[in-house]
Symmetry: none
Subunit: 562 residues, 2 copies
């Protein structure tokens, strides 16, 4: 725990990957980490190979004080990272050794301390209410006190870029004061997030030349340029980057750690992570989204589920020639995969490619491929969409193969599954007292028996899900491990495309339901389409369970696997 440098990274202390998810990232609305969450987040960042993990602001927030206490008492063994405590400089009237807040930084036992200080004269004079000399003394004193106590100290120069534009002399004096006190790095912060890369690059270069200090960079994303600004700063001499996981942070957020690392490693070819670290980017990004309780962004650069997904038929046929001509990097380098999307815009080539990805090889089965393409086209014209529903697509392809030679028809396309539906009934009652009750009854065949079950739920789909689980769980051991994690509804309005349509185009439109499921290890998505939203949900629900049953016992009908 006494480490104050990154361990096992090829560039060592020469380049700092510094994460502030636990402090600045937690400013994002809706994020509320528990102490246990914080420990897990720090562990995940350490696994990735981040060099510095900022844990919080001891003394200011009780949770953060507790985090440091537990982290430094053996609960957070770090392989690569040094632990950092964040705090402000001493108050104007006190000496550093008597300042309560500065003492809390020492008490945290973190080997590294990052101090925040104002570097914009307007903020110093109007928000802090002191003159520039006093502000510089506060910085110098606090840094040298902490250095004297054996800590490594970095300085976050708040509002640096706005301050430098307004009064460069003041901004530079604050940096110099930190250097004089013994700070190792002065971090230029674009606190309001208003910078653009070309100007920011010029400023970083100029400040480096004028101060001779080691520079860091901390960018907010208010111009949508935080990642670009961070990279531009590195190209202009900064050797310390402060980021947050997935760009979490106040307002538009911070520079996304994963995009910054992706760019540093694959574009600038800088060995800033330990061997194997880059290949963990996708996994760790998703795990950190989980910890923040925020759905991962499918369109996030490098690590998003769609970051290497191709939809256009124009590309899909050419991708077979050479995938690297159509991807800016090889996806596995960052632990991601290339995906081919099946849509109305694509043809045989992409369905074949997609089948291979799902483990259904259609290359030697041209007739099955033809009938699969026809089937996809027909279903898509009815409102189905398999772009996001790989699990349903796989079931459809398997069924096409099973029935090779015969046309596949009908509305559903369940292959032999672990159960068979006889019927269901859902009753919704809005009672005179205003209470609304949803009740569902299912009749199913499972393991050769006929089972009837009834359950209530918050709404019709929830009730149906509950009844189905009640009926099946005595027979299917794995059922309890399967949870629905997301449920999306889209109303497709044929009325909008068919001007002649009469009556009520709103309520009799076709409904498409997407259900995302997990068993704690994997996630899969299924789709259902019907004019009745409950029936559409039922289709997606059933596909979700059949998909899982095939994984439990491939090739069988599932329940024998238990």
């Amino acid at each position: 725990m006494n480490r104050s440098e990154p361990a096992d990274t090829p560039l060592g202390d020469g380049f700092h990957v510094y994460d502030t998810t636990l402090r600045d990232g937690a400013q994002r609305e809706g994020i509320a980490y528990s102490v246990a969450d914080k420990l897990t987040v720090a562990r995940l960042l350490d696994e990735l190979g981040v060099g510095f993990v900022e844990g919080g602001w001891p003394g200011a927030l009780p949770k953060d004080t507790e985090f440091f206490q537990r982290a430094t008492s053996g609960e957070l063994p770090l392989k690569h990272a040094a632990l950092v405590a964040f705090g402000s400089t001493r108050k104007a009237g006190a000496t550093a050794d008597r300042d309560k807040q500065v003492r809390a930084l020492l008490d945290s036992r973190a080997p590294v301390v990052t101090l925040v200080a104002k570097s914009d004269r307007r903020h110093i004079e109007r928000a802090l209410g002191v003159d520039v000399d006093t502000a510089c003394a506060m910085v110098r004193d606090t840094v040298s006190f902490l250095v004297g106590e054996g800590r490594r100290v970095f300085l976050d120069a708040e509002h640096f870029f706005d301050g430098y534009a307004y009064d460069p002399d003041t901004a530079l004096r604050v940096l110099t004061a930190a250097g004089e006190g013994g700070a190792d790095v002065v971090v230029l912060c674009d606190t309001n997030g208003g910078q653009l890369p070309l100007q920011l690059a010029a400023t970083v270069e100029e400040v480096g030349a004028r101060t001779g200090l080691r520079l860091g960079i901390h960018c907010q994303d208010d111009t949508s340029c935080a990642v670009a600004n961070t990279i531009a700063a590195v190209q202009s001499g900064a050797t310390h980057v402060q980021c947050t996981a997935n760009g979490y942070g106040e307002r538009a957020g911070n520079a996304d750690l994963f995009a910054v690392l992706g760019n540093l490693v694959t574009k600038l070819e800088m060995d800033v992570l330990p061997p194997g670290g880059a290949a963990e980017l996708t996994r760790v990004s998703h795990a950190l989204a989980e910890m923040a309780n925020i759905a991962p962004d499918a369109h996030q650069a490098y690590v998003g589920a769609s970051a290497f997904a191709h939809k256009a038929g124009l590309h899909a046929s050419a991708i077979k020639v050479d995938p690297l001509l159509y991807n800016h990097i090889d996806p596995p380098v960052v632990g991601n995969d290339m995906r081919v999307l099946v849509t109305e815009m694509a043809g045989r080539a992409s369905l074949e490619l997609k089948g291979r990805e799902l483990g259904v090889d259609l290359t030697e089965r041209p007739e099955a491929l033809t009938s699969a393409v026809d089937r996809v086209k027909t279903l898509e014209s009815q409102g189905w969409s398999f772009e996001a529903a790989d699990a349903s697509l796989e079931l459809m392809l398997r069924r096409v193969i099973d029935s090779e030679g015969e046309p596949v028809s009908g509305e559903g396309f369940l292959p032999e599954g672990p159960f068979e539906l006889e019927s269901y009934r859902v009753v919704l009652d809005h009672r005179p007292d205003g209470e609304v009750i949803s009740e569902a009854t299912v009749k199913v065949q499972v393991s050769g028996e006929r089972v009837i079950a009834t359950a209530e739920g918050n709404g019709p789909v929830h009730a149906l899900d509950a009844a189905l689980r009640k009926a099946l769980s005595p027979y299917l051991e794995w059922l309890d491990s399967v949870d629905l994690t997301d449920y999306k509804v889209r109303i497709l309005t044929p009325g909008a495309e068919t001007p002649s349509m009469q009556g009520h185009p709103g309520t009799d439109a076709v409904t498409r339901v997407l259900i995302e499921s997990t068993d704690g290890e994997k996630e899969w998505t299924t789709v259902g389409v019907h004019e009745n939203i409950v029936e559409a949900s039922w289709m997606a629900l059933c596909d979700a369970l059949v998909h899982k049953s095939m994984r439990v016992s491939p090739g069988s009908d599932g329940h024998r696997g238990t």
Copy 2:
């Protein structure tokens, strides 16, 4: 419709804001615009003041062919924008005038055509299978043919940056061929999205100097730098930017139109929009998210609901001193707010203003205004949103006035309407033969009588609507004139905000339903929120009818008006 230049923007044809949401944006998974959607998207972009709206690829996609047919037949009167058709150059073996695809571009009647052409030698040789001379001839011929037919032509040079790095000579020859054919702008495309701003800026400057052609820029976001790259290109001489609404697009998406415009207008101080255009950025961004059926990103730069929201205690108190010290721009400049709570309406001033707009004057009723603000806050915390549901908001305000002095509570907020619900029941039967039946029974009081009616429908909401109409239509003459024109469902996941939530966050989330109605003259939108989708729909349905009844006989309970 013959306009080929932006109208009413201070910079005129000197700078092109070019939107490709309808073509490249539609490559994003899950986006599937109908022709009616496309017309609406184009109108919204035109309201903002975009200079060029690319409508699609006529000839390649039937929907796009229909879009151009309707757009050029009077359905899309444009105030600011020129309409653009996208397509590829002639095939290797044919002449331009005989090429079916090129003819489809002419047939679209769009005054501007953007042609896409490969400019990376590897793509020319391996994907296209021709030599560089042939590829250049294809570009030159097609451009000059279309120019000869009176079209303005732009050239999208696909994979330009990768191609220029690999073989600059080939990449420049393709641009030159386009210029020789008469193309007005050659657009450098970072198709694989792998560029970083500093290098990209240097390349744009160099290409401008070497070719002397007018340059455009088109960036994908695979390094999370699309916006930064676009701005860096403008600073290096590009005068034509291609973007998509909210950055929609394949993989990590495209450069976000709203962030690019925010940066151009507020950072580079370029008058690229008509007067008043910038203040529409937030509204149009959210409306386009709605059209794409994608939840707006609260953390989007400039236009996100949280883009100017401050959480940090450190800042929040200091903000009172001078808000501009803590925001990179003044939020109203882009139509956004600093204290955006759950919505823009949470403040007294805006609710008062909105009330006046809806004909409910709260200016002389400070207590009613206070209780209306409280009511909106409470409802929004439960998932209600009035941004798009003026009719429901008006009913809520009227009810607050009616009950002045008393607190308004309960889940619904129906003022005295033309009918009163006693109860309803909906039964959904999936029969053993696979047929699915939806049946609803309603019991209502109307005109002093108790009426019971039962009807079937395609789904639960349709059945409920049918039963309600059956019960009420003998008493309410105007009912037959009211049709539902749109029905939207959004699942709100409290799981994302409530980490402790167990079980099935998917199916027991809260559902918000928006219903758009028309009586042939006016349209109005109502909202309902409930954990049960059918109950949420019922709320919105009832509001829709009560709203109409007030219009029939203002101030009364409606049915006496018939």
